[in-house]
Amino acid sequence: MSARVFDAVTLVPGVAAGPILKLDEPLSFWGGLDLATGTIIDRLHPQAGANMAGRVLMMPAGRGSSSGSATLAEALRLDHGPAAILMLERDAIVVVGAMVAAELYNLACPIALADGRDWEALAAAARLAIDAGANSAAVSAGR
């Protein structure tokens, strides 16, 4: 069982692993995520109805409301948030939600920036483990 390891850039540090939820489009957490369950409720979103709790969320970019930070932080506090987030573009609103959950509650939801060329290979894995350190991040793709 050799896991393939990909380099990534740390946006929010931490270590986490979980099954993948890959989004085909960006999601606005506010108005798009049900805090009580972790389910995607934006009905125009291709992954509407999917649950992100405990998963490694592969989301190419952010979208929509600037209230997304608080929604993500509150979802993490309630233990209905993603285990980690992997993105292709830096998004201010998403990273702040995870930073505040870390600051106030000591909850880690690491966020890393992947290389676009690795995206499909990463998505093909069953699980991802993210180790986002101060200087660099590594993403292990496992079965």
Partner: protein
Amino acid sequence: MRLLVRFAEAVGARSFLDIEGSHVDGVIYHGRVSLDFAERIVELGGKVRVPTTLNVGSVDLIHPELFRGTKEHKENAARLMRAHIELGCAPTFTCAPYQSAARPHFGAQIAWGESNAIAFANSVIGARTNRYGDFIDLCCAMTGRAPAYGLHLTENRFARALVEVVSIPDGWDLERAAVTVGHAVGRRCGALIPAIVGLPLSLSEDDLKALGAAAASSGAVGLFHAVGVTPEAPNLETACGGLEPELRLQLTAEDLREAARSLSGAADGAPLSAVSLGTPHFSIDQFARLMPLIGGARPLIDIFVNTSRATLDELRKRGWEDELRAARVTLVADTCVYVSALLKSGAGAVMTNSGKCAYYAPGNLGVEVAYGSLAECVASARAGKVVRL
């Protein structure tokens, strides 16, 4: 502040710059995290260092009787609003701070939250802010500094997508054209800055407000250029800064009709429980458009109009409040129907003239939404069902 420095690193900024003002989004109550953050800063004796306005809260402090949620939710939401006043923020409680006197000037560096306000400040005023979210807007306000990256810098403000509006459906008013162009642009451009050509040059500020709000809901649009209309786009070459667009798309009348349809989950003729106007907050000019429409038969259902305290004062001065109330208009200040528990639960969909409200209300409020023009909204209120004109 530690959070701000970590944030700056995460977004790839190399330095900070001074800001002239801030608009804080974190005053909407999203649960305990909202209060824990604001009250910790109050305990630490924090104060904002630059003029700071506040976004809508989750309750209407002027008309608290309108709130239909739990007592705990109402109290926590009001506590959050008061905590921000203690931090030195102005109690504006509006998502459209640019409609009041405290409007930033062209080129001003600011740190704003609230996606529609960000789009308006950047696009229509030519002020400079990134899409700041909850918490970080307050960090910027308290330090008077923002990370020098993204839309603060001239080189990042040029258009990367070219959107050509080829045709607009016959008989549509400008507002509906603006909303549907915004919705389509957000969906198809994502975070790319669009230069939009072919829009009517007579678009009002309220139309541009509606366009930005829709684009910032369906996409991550923080800045758009309406060529010939907005200040950084006197012509296409200037808007693009000599760069070749990464994306080119055309919008036809049929695309705009499709955008309107996709915002309308409720069928024509479906029963309505309420009409909601003013997402973002209704301006005095929009009230002036509404007044002649409300004469005649009394509506069968309530019309909620969300607006700011400042606009409410202006309405009273003009003596319009009684006339509005007589036409079943409920004036909502400080908050907005789709972020607060104001609607009676029960039968029927909600109709709105807002692309933003139509986008978020089904998920947030669990209601079906019909999108239509202002005139259709009022006609539908009168009939108690979705009416198309």
